[in-house]
């Protein structure tokens, strides 16, 4: 499905200038949000969707980090696409992604120390996020810089959407908070809803609950868009 994305042909002689946001380019951004969502349809990058969704704050920072890494990786691989030797292209992509991740990690440690503490190992694990290598291999290697940029934006926003939705439910029902603010009252002091005997669902804090939420997300998505239902 990912390979459907139209490859911009390189005709040097009679090249008509495409408008920056042509229909084709717009689709690059909107497709990954719904019909070709990297997490719910392609089922890529699911590992981090399971692990960093306990708190919304961490999920948002993770999404921003992935956006940065995917954007820069797509742009740099797309710039080098005519130079990269075919035989070591995966290694080259890996080197690009790994160095970007290290840069993100270092910058977070220097300027956003608290956030970097919260994300700890997960920043390093961006390297293994299949979405990034997938987009590099399937798109950036064969397309020009501008479409690659849009593709990166679309996919990382699609990824972010799922992360934010999952973390919303996990944080709300797991610890009664959103972005660390108490929504249902204070559990230890027994105020708000807790006064009436409400209890947080501990399962929501553990990775398996993400699978359930992602599954419900896919269900709703396919209910709304019958094109996505597989027929075989």
């Amino acid at each position: 499905m990912a390979e459907e994305t139209v490859i911009v042909e390189e005709k040097k002689e009679v090249r008509e200038r495409e408008p920056l946001f042509s229909k084709k380019n717009k689709k690059l951004i909107t497709d990954p949000l719904d019909e070709n969502n990297p997490v719910t349809i392609q089922v890529l990058g699911i590992c981090s969707a399971l692990a960093v969704t306990v708190q919304m704050k961490a999920a948002v920072v993770m999404s921003i980090s992935v956006l940065f890494v995917l954007l820069m990786a797509n742009i740099s691989v797309s710039l080098m696409r005519n130079l990269i030797p075919n035989r070591i292209r995966i290694i080259v992509q890996l080197v690009v992604v790994a160095s970007l991740v290290i840069i993100v990690d270092q910058v977070l440690k220097a300027y956003l120390y608290d956030v970097s503490k919260e994300l700890s190992v997960f920043v390093g694990l961006i390297i293994t996020n299949c979405i990034i290598m997938g987009r590099l291999e399937a798109f950036a290697l064969g397309n020009k810089v501008w479409p690659s940029t849009l593709d990166a934006l679309g996919n990382s926003i699609g990824y972010a959407m799922v992360l934010v939705v999952v973390s919303f439910f996990k944080e709300l029902f797991g610890s009664g908070k959103l972005f660390g603010m108490e929504i249902f009252g204070n559990a230890t002091e027994g105020t708000g809803l807790y006064a009436m005997g409400y209890m947080d669902n501990g399962l929501m804090l553990l990775p398996p609950s993400s699978l359930i939420i992602v599954a419900i997300y896919i269900w709703v998505q396919k209910m709304r868009n019958p094109n996505l239902i597989e027929t075989h």
Binding site: V54, P85, N86, V92, S99, G202
Partner: protein, 252 residues
């Protein structure tokens, strides 16, 4: 370009150039950001020490960097028997130097915890603080939780018998479960608990939540048993050393 992109020479050249460029870039960035990262780590340590003192919970990391000397008057390194090591007693006039192995502030407890297996051979840094005319001893503790290290800073009163404040933190405990040890509701329970009875040192117990508590017990975290056990273990192992030192100091 009339270069054969499939040739070995091209592939090798490309790889070499890429690695050199990327390596140089990373080294440059890492070097540039190092001072800021070190400052963050140092200020965090200062923040822990100040936060466990009574009434100082809200001091931020940046404030801690500048306020540190106003609270921490003396620092010293002890051995396992609670004796001062030579040349390690320093007052706040001597600037913090994290390169000087005689400076209590330079001791990397995590490193010692990992590399020195015998507790008798480890260093025990102690920070002697003053808040509103009262003297407090801040003792760092280090142990392991479920996934990785957990640590804390415990403020003891002048007699070395009562806990006046505690902060805990962790590397990667489960959010919502073990990670709750760094929350106020857990830390505040320790205030006023005793670590000493008639016969001497008595360790704090971290219990299953729900049961009635005496002066030596606090509620653990439900669902965070391993982390709670880690907290109990590191306090039990370490605080006796500091208590010995404080008692001897008060006797003489």
């Amino acid at each position: 370009m009339a270069v054969n992109k499939d040739s070995n020479a091209y592939t090798v050249t490309f790889a070499v150039i890429l690695v050199i460029v990327v390596g140089g870039l990373l080294a440059f960035i890492s070097n540039g950001l190092k001072p800021l990262q070190d400052k963050n780590l140092k200020n965090e340590k200062k923040q822990y020490i100040l936060n466990c003192l009574p009434g100082n919970k809200s001091i931020s990391r940046d404030q801690a960097g500048t306020e540190f000397a106003n609270f921490v008057k003396e620092r010293v390194i002890l051995n396992y028997n609670g004796e001062e090591l030579d040349n390690t007693f320093m007052s706040s006039d001597q600037l913090l130097d994290d390169k000087n192995p005689n400076d209590a502030f330079s001791i990397d407890l995590l490193k010692e915890y990992k590399t020195i297996s015998k507790k008798e051979e480890r260093n025990y840094p102690l920070f002697i603080c003053q808040v509103d005319g009262e003297k407090y001893y801040v003792a760092p503790v280090m142990g392991k939780g479920l996934w990785a290290a957990v640590w804390g800073y415990i403020a003891l009163d002048e007699k070395g018998e009562k806990i006046a404040g505690a902060v805990f933190d962790h590397k990667s405990e489960t959010p919502g479960l073990g990670a709750e040890i760094s929350q106020d509701f857990f830390e505040d329970q320790f205030v006023g608990k005793l670590i000493s009875n008639e016969s001497g040192y008595k360790a704090i117990e971290v219990n299953k939540p729900g049961s009635p508590l005496n002066d030596y017990q606090v509620d653990g975290i439900s669902g965070g048993t391993f982390t709670s056990v880690g907290v109990e273990e590191m306090m039990e192992r370490t605080l006796s050393v500091y208590q010995k030192y404080i008692k001897n100091l008060n006797r003489s």
